[in-house]
Amino acid sequence: MVPYLATVIAILRKDLAVEWRSRQLLAAMLIFTLLVILIFNFALELDARVRSEVSAGVLWATFAFAGTLGLNRSMAIEKEGKALDGLLLAPVDRSVIYMGKTLANLSFMLAVALFTLPIYSVLYNVDLLNGGFLLVLLLGSWGYSAIGTILSAMAIQARSRELLLPVLLFPLVIPVLVAAVRASSFFLQDLELIYIWPSLNLLIAYGLIIPAMGFMFFDLIVEE
């Protein structure tokens, strides 16, 4: 168990190290996110009254789009020097690669959120420093990364991979987005937990089922 986890973390650290050296991805995701929020501002004419209800939706839609940048890039670095072969040659279970990559993608999403939320709060005067909200952020990003990593591993081996990933991803990630928006919104409006539980349960269920599928299928996806 421990060597398994240690290897997962080694892969996670490697992905973070690569990103730290080049810093291309985080910068791109951050700028992209801020621009999208800006566009939403004009598209939806967010006035003060409506803002707190709509914030959850705007933020999650933004993260969903920015997330695809991270997913694409994370797999692309393995394709560049055919480094994925290096991982496949190692005496590690293929699911270790899946877990490492999912955690890396999760980290990127959370990093982007960490920058975006304070800025959004300031721009729209909405208090996002809410424990429940941050919990939903974590659960939602986890579900998103779990399905996204599986699909980006498939898309990277197809033609027109950047075009393909969003098309494959968005229909399957809707449960996460809908539940996350619902739960986030309620947390922000300080509603009682009893209303929020169903959405949280769904996020947790998704966050267990999809990684299980990833464990089962990742080997079949990366092998030749």
Partner: protein, 238 residues
Amino acid sequence: MSSKSIAARPRFLTLLSTLSALLILAATWMVFFFAPREAVMGEVQRVFYFHVSTGWVGMVAFLSAAIAGIIYLIRPDKKWDVFAVAAVEIGLVYSFVNIVSGSIWARPTWNTWWTWDPRLVTASVMELTFLAYLLLRQSMEDPERRARFGAIYSILGSLTVPLTYMSIRIWRTIHPVVIGSGDPGAKGDFSMTQPMVTTLMFSLLAFTVFGVTLLWHRVRLGWLSERVEEFRLKSMEM
């Protein structure tokens, strides 16, 4: 469907095709002339029979594609892949008719082309999922990988669709949606009389038989084109 008789259309299939055509005609007649006029909604309610029948067959088609996918992953035999593609295509057509007929029904009933109710949205998401399935297949060059990825995606899709339904159900029950008709209970409930039930059952049967016929034709088409491809590649090597 054995490979030695592959070129000639099996006689049973021809019979089945004729039977389906007759059943569909009969069902259509029943829908328009046998089933009674519904009191509240009027003539447009007759769309319901097509809506439910196609919806049901569409879902079964997608589910069988996913099951074929599972079987393929366990035992990689090309025939399961050919079946899966055929099932998805049939499912897409049926589900599309389902969605459109639902829309036609909604318009006069609630004065809107679209309601954001869980079933309609989930049906649309299901449709998009399996369209993505076809797109995925189209982007893969290696046939073995194409089949494998298709299988995995159809399994993932079949898992997320019910989750989508639940997530939207949760959404609707707690917080009525402002967009659209604004009536969360808008499912158009009406009590069904006996002739209606009979008509529905018969439509279901007719569309199922028709679906199976289409599926069989499509599987044959898929299998034949595989054989053509095989011969083509073999002849290139000579």
